[in-house]
């Protein structure tokens, strides 16, 4: 039995519910820079020192960046550590995407779609690096992925921005900057590697 072509196909649905006002609203977001290039550099230098101090060197440390910007931050952090400590730090990456695959789920769940970690992490101190820490779901998914890959001695978490609103018992070990936000605000970390500029902005609907 066939009902013929539905008038609104799934891929058209978005257009069907297209709301020009909402899209227009996006352009009127108020943008404020909360961290410029210099501040970001200083924050990363401080994080590098903290990582070295907390772990008494970097002999057993592996940095693992999450998604696009976490990877670049991890690379920069590794570079900074090398400059200070004169020893190499390995950098790996985790690719995590937010899925909304189940209608019952209210929030989007992070899923691991790939990983590239150049060294075995057994017995190592793995430091996850991400740009923004929000609900903690991505960080938890990343920790799960690490436990699947191997048994690190411990996992630490380094973030450039902690914007609060944690939904899970996760707390960062190294924080670039604490930024109190409301849920309506958007935090965007921009890095030269992908965004042409080094800065962190907070966008508020005006």
């Amino acid at each position: 039995m066939s009902f013929g072509k539905p008038t609104v196909s799934c891929s058209d649905r978005q257009d069907f519910f297209y709301d020009p006002m909402r899209t227009a609203g996006d352009f009127s977001l108020e943008e404020k820079v909360i961290m410029d290039e210099k501040a970001m550099m200083r924050a990363l230098t401080r994080l590098a020192h903290e990582v070295i101090e907390r772990n008494e060197g970097v002999a057993s440390v592996v940095l693992v960046g999450i998604k696009t910007r976490g990877i670049y931050l991890a690379e920069r952090l590794a570079k900074r550590i090398t400059e200070i400590e004169d020893s190499q730090v390995q950098v790996g990456e985790l690719d995590i995407t937010l899925y909304r695959d189940d209608l019952k789920k209210k929030s989007r769940e992070p899923r691991i779609i790939g990983s590239e970690i150049p060294v075995p992490i057994e017995g190592k101190t793995v430091i996850l690096v991400d740009d923004v820490l929000y609900t903690g779901r991505t960080a938890r998914a990343a920790m799960d992925a690490l436990m699947d890959i191997g048994r690190p001695q411990r996992i630490q978490l380094a973030v450039l921005i902690d914007r609060g609103h944690r939904e899970l018992p996760i707390r960062p070990d190294y924080i670039g900057k604490n930024v109190p936000t409301s849920r309506e605000e958007i935090i965007a970390v921009q890095l030269k590697e992908v965004d042409k500029a080094d800065r962190v902005v907070i966008r508020t609907k005006s």
Binding site: K104, R140, D162, R163, G164, H165, R166, E167, L168, P169, R171, P172, I175, N178, V179, P180, T181, S182
Partner: protein, 363 residues
């Protein structure tokens, strides 16, 4: 694998072990909640205790990723009538047994929890031990009587270092005596800028953080085991709005000059009726406490009773007559249990905002 649960009075129960295979000591307590075992087992207030869950079938929905109140099970042992072998739930991550084994927590099933609960109600909470099936109960009981309950539980469950979850609202300093995640969750939900500090933090260090309000968390054990914390509360009392929950309530009472005593078997469950004296309204609350504020000791202090337990008339809530400070013995954050009393967080924040507006710090 056969296992024994031995009590200090010489009584013993035979059951089947699950979870970890190691032996364990602890104060045997019971919780009457029909559901919410994951929240109970991860509640740091149960640290070091062997928890009996009186509901006859436990583990039927497994362990999921979102119900934890801390990052691991905090109990030292678990006693159930029957553990579910085939749990089912769409959020299930693993079975109760797998989860306990992973964190090396021993458990025993096949126990007549009804009889055990009756014993505890009669004798009060007892020291107990879960041992291998071939042990001699009389010997184990003799050893148990010589073993004294630990007094340093708080140092095991409190945070080691200060941490922050930033927010746009008022700054709340949460003193962590073994705080349930739920307390933090309620603060975060209301947009608070929360600074979580270890239980040893001094009053001066707390005031340096410029708090708009201070929240004293729940925690395990005897409030008198942390005299420094009582001194800290005494010093900040009146300088900043204060909310105490559970252990925090007892510390607040001690700081204001009242006394606390150990209860025979405490209140542990999710259906404890409490009367709010201001309104005459009742609420069903989630509770977990083995100590209580002594009623007679309130005389001559600045404290007044705001909430009473209906079952046994014990104090469940206090308010300071002169300062912006109140406390409750039950858990307004629920988890597990009904959220009847969640508005207490709003009341605390209203008090915080009122104080902020007035800009007056009573010395």
């Amino acid at each position: 694998m056969k296992k024994l649960l031995v009590l200090e009075n010489g009584e013993f129960f035979t059951g089947e072990g699950f979870g970890s295979n190691k032996e364990t000591n602890g104060e045997v307590v019971f919780n009457t909640g029909m559901t919410g075992y994951q929240e109970v087992l991860t509640d740091p207030s149960y640290y070091g205790q062997i928890v009996t869950l009186t509901y006859p079938l436990i583990g039927n929905y497994g362990i999921n990723r979102s119900d934890n109140e801390s990052s691991r099970p905090e109990i030292s042992g678990l006693i159930v009538k029957e553990v579910s072998k085939s749990p089912s739930h769409w959020q299930k991550d693993k079975t109760l047994s797998e989860w306990l084994a992973e964190y090396d927590v021993p458990a025993i099933e096949g126990i007549d929890t009804r009889r055990l609960t009756k014993i505890i109600r009669e004798y009060g909470t007892l020291r107990g031990r879960i041992v291998q099936g071939d042990a001699d109960p009389a010997q184990v009981a003799a050893k148990l009587r010589k073993w004294s309950l630990p007094v340093d539980q708080i140092s095991h469950v409190s945070t080691q270092s200060v941490y922050v979850t930033p927010g746009g609202g008022p700054r709340i300093v949460l003193v962590d005596f073994g705080a349930k995640q739920g307390i933090l969750r309620e603060c975060i939900k209301r947009g608070c800028d929360v600074v979580i500090v270890p239980y040893r933090t001094s009053a001066a260090d707390i005031m340096k953080l410029h708090p708009d309000g201070v929240l004293l968390s729940n925690g395990p054990g005897d409030p008198k085991s942390v005299p420094d914390a009582v001194q800290m509360v005494r010093e900040i009392l009146g300088k900043v709005p204060l909310l105490g929950i559970c252990l925090g309530h007892q510390l607040f009472a001690l700081a204001a000059g009242a006394n606390t005593v150990k209860m025979r078997f405490g209140h542990r469950g999710v259906n404890h009726p409490v009367k709010e004296l201001d309104t005459g309204k009742f609420m069903i609350t989630s509770q977990n406490h083995g100590y209580t504020v002594e009623k007679e000791s309130l005389e001559g202090t600045d404290l007044e009773v705001t909430h009473l337990a209906i079952n046994d008339g014990t104090i469940e809530g206090l308010r300071h007559k002169r300062y912006p400070a109140f406390s409750v013995q039950f858990h307004p954050e629920a988890s597990p249990g009904p959220d009847d009393s969640q508005p207490l967080f709003d009341r605390f924040l209203a008090m915080v905002n009122q104080e902020k507006k007035e800009g007056v710090r009573l010395a």
